[in-house]
Subunit: 331 residues, 2 copies
Amino acid sequence: MPSRPDDDDPRLGDLSEGQILSAILARTASGSHTLLGPGDDAAVIAAPSGSVVATTDTLVHGPDFRLAWSSGFDLGWKSAAVNLADVAAMGARPTALLVALAVPRDLRLSFVADLADGLREACRALAPGCAVVGGDLTVSDVLTVAVTALGDLEGRPPVTRAGANVGDVVAVAGELGHAAHGLAVLFGRFREDDVPVPVDVRRLGSGESAAVTAQLRPSPPIGLGAVAAVSGATAMMDISDGLALDARRLAAASGVTLSLDAASLGPHPERALAGGEDHALLATFPAALLPPGFRVIGSVVAQGEESLLVDGAAVDVTGWDPYRDWDSASG
Amino acid sequence: MPSRPDDDDPRLGDLSEGQILSAILARTASGSHTLLGPGDDAAVIAAPSGSVVATTDTLVHGPDFRLAWSSGFDLGWKSAAVNLADVAAMGARPTALLVALAVPRDLRLSFVADLADGLREACRALAPGCAVVGGDLTVSDVLTVAVTALGDLEGRPPVTRAGANVGDVVAVAGELGHAAHGLAVLFGRFREDDVPVPVDVRRLGSGESAAVTAQLRPSPPIGLGAVAAVSGATAMMDISDGLALDARRLAAASGVTLSLDAASLGPHPERALAGGEDHALLATFPAALLPPGFRVIGSVVAQGEESLLVDGAAVDVTGWDPYRDWDSASG
């Protein structure tokens, strides 16, 4: 839980970089691949199989989160989770995070400490053995968290988006549309005069509460990325911008069409198709190789005019393009 | 050179993420360690010696650069250089960069294209074989470039800050105080009504011009990091916050005192001691092992009350703490 700002909780602008870093580093854990952790010019991480998977993803206040809705813990957790999912989507096991934090001077120290807790706990829950090994702290008027995640393929080739074969099944592991539902709940019920206000959980039903948690603190099935690779996944990606948009990307990279069954997409197929930020894993497998944890939602067919079909028909559902859709003036 | 904004040069807010990424990716080169480059959930980089060096450093508009003074090319170059220096300071050879870019909607596409050019050319000039392998693009009111650099130790142990031995020589490779001099020139001569204005090179002498270039587009001696490690450096770091502050950090980590000779610090020892952002390499060696490219500036002595001495006396020169010193209101 976030600490309450008060006089014992200094603003970052009143502290030196060293004081802030000390508070953060006191919250980090050691990872099983960490050969040299924070404190030097760079970290050193084991890459036992001779290559390293690397990805970076940034959360910016405004388009990606609101401080009225997200605690420091939530923000740390989510910034870890979205990056861990990208490593998992290659079939790799996450080994390390680096965190570039740009923070306003009036932010409280407790917020940053909570953020470090969230990073650590997300690693512990979603990718045991992975830990924060380094980072950077700068000043900015816009709170920004840029995380880089590293991972190890354990000797396997990476599972790219490009390997889906006609006849494979299309499968997912993880939730579809929950995070978007949560965002809709937040936008619909926790704004006053169009300004975000804190979430009062007493106003939420249990389904809404789970959806809000999926939005603020997602728990994608990170460990199933390596499971899919071991099992023989032919293509994989994480669903960050909605199933419809991301399925089209996988189809295009593989030169195929993905044909999905609406009935397999849960009670709200439109929400499952359009909703982003769940970071579920979308993968294709020869049918006989489908591992536990994945559920079939369709099949790979020969490339047609449409790269995505749902119940045999084209769909008019697009995902989330933060660049086009976000208006900073609306908070 | 930066392109001129005009009607053929759209603002980023009028483009989709995919359009912007295409323009950036068209400017990236392939690296010699790149096993899988941009376009999938994550990149894969060779780590032939079984470990990977990783570091991250962020440039934020305001505290770290001004658009009035830095072109997109400058910004891309500098954001690469400062991270390459951290990899070099471990004795490693840089293999890959990941770039998290948060950009305002009214920025022109040409600026981002120039930034990609600067990243590529800095790699080519300073760390051949290293390349941008991945990144992320988000919207922010504050232009922010967070770069993560990876490197390979080629089978050597990392050179940390902690290994300096009494009797070693203290040596540097690269410039001292030039970047700070350049910043002073910019602040002193290219502001009107306290607002930064574009640099007119005709108003600069050759020394000033070189100093401004050192500030906007630094060229630290990246290749000498691996040379130092091969030669037997006992400790090393890059000088990002000024020699005085960073020498104290190395001394503290090693449990020694560094005793420097002012005469070896060039014509402006105070500037060399206080000035940050040169990203020169500071290293200690057994005297017989000093490699070409490094020059001796002092010696390692037993830990005393002061961690840094200059001509045998304590110095009252501190470095640059962006967190404490920057005031966003001053532009």
